[in-house]
């Protein structure tokens, strides 16, 4: 189960994600992130309240990152916590995505 919300703050579109980023949630999360990337110049994905991410969830973030690269949208993944942060680190996502401790706005 995942909850998604979107708001604009200080020139950034912040997509807040809550819950488990698993296969069940991956499509919805990817759609929300892609839509934000397509409609904004700067997008921050707030992962502060994501407590689990699977392979499918990670793939959804990668796809959003790809879309951002293609559209030249600034895209950052923020506030990774606990096991989710570890999964991002193990995967080396910092090599292809901008990852920040805090939200940029």
């Amino acid at each position: 189960m995942i909850e998604l919300a979107q708001q604009t703050r200080g020139g950034w579109c912040v997509v807040t994600i809550r819950g488990r980023a698993d296969a069940e949630a991956a499509d919805e999360m990817e759609r929300a992130l892609r839509a934000a990337v397509n409609q904004n110049h700067r997008v921050a994905a707030d992962f502060a309240n994501v407590d689990y991410i699977s392979s499918a969830g990670l793939r959804a973030v990668l796809q959003a990152g790809r879309a951002a690269q293609e559209r030249k949208t600034e895209f950052t993944v923020c506030q990774l916590r606990g096991p989710v942060k570890k999964v991002f680190e193990i995967s080396g996502m910092q090599h292809v995505l901008r990852i920040e401790e805090e939200l940029p706005c």
Binding site: S55, A56, R66, Q69, I90, S91, V96
Partner: protein
């Protein structure tokens, strides 16, 4: 669209001779199973995390290989990790390569030729009839390796699978690949399921090679 398994096998077909590169290599056997797991992950039949594989959807897909593997997985709740699943599927000794080749022949991409060498030894070749699919796979892999952007997850998976089997040589020369070693390793690590599959291939291949010979 071709399956990951079909793309992996197609990549192994030598475009000049129609022979299969690295055929019968142990690592390739594991990689073929890995390719099926990638297909299942991309079609959301399975998902993985850092520990286990989860089965998400057991409904029939119409792809005989996927449905057979999912049925096998459903019947074995004791097997949980990617490594254990690759080992379990390897023991089944399914001819995944043969099935993928047959499908590629049926789709008009390859043709099947059987000849005799020295009148005795059977030689099988699979010359390309339509080279577009293989060209597209090679171009996508080259773009993933030599570009700097984020590749499609499908291409990331294929790079990670081709690398331990030596099949990236079909895409670029050794010196060119050496220059992009860091990028290839980064891509191979990026996808949770491909990282797990590659680790399993490497471990199983090494354990088999270092196993003491059986005494009969």
């Amino acid at each position: 669209m071709l399956s990951m398994l079909e793309e992996f096998v197609l990549l192994a077909v030598d475009e000049r001779t129609g022979q299969l590169e690295s055929r019968h290599e142990l690592g390739t056997g594991y990689a073929l199973i890995g390719a099926v797991f990638f297909d299942l992950a991309l079609t959301r039949k399975i998902d993985t995390d850092t520990e286990e594989i989860q089965i998400l959807d057991t409904s029939a897909s119409g792809n005989l290989i996927w449905d057979r593997v999912i049925a096998e997985m459903r019947g074995r709740p004791d097997v949980k990790t990617v490594r254990d699943w690759i080992e379990a599927m390897f023991r089944r000794n399914d001819d995944l390569e043969g099935e993928a080749l047959a499908s590629l022949v049926e789709q008009g991409i390859l043709q099947h030729e059987k000849t005799k060498r020295l009148w005795i030894i059977d030689v099988e070749r699979f010359p390309l009839i339509d080279g577009r699919a293989q060209k597209s796979v090679k171009e996508r892999l080259a773009q993933a390796i030599f570009g700097d952007g984020i590749p499609d997850p499908r291409d990331i998976m294929l790079v990670s699978l081709a690398e331990p089997c030596g099949l990236l040589r079909c895409v670029a020369s050794e010196p060119e690949l050496k220059m992009r070693r860091e990028r290839i390793e980064m891509l191979s690590n990026l996808e949770t399921i491909s990282r797990k599959v590659v680790a399993a291939i490497t471990e199983l291949d090494a354990s088999f090679r270092h196993a003491p010979p059986r005494l009969s």
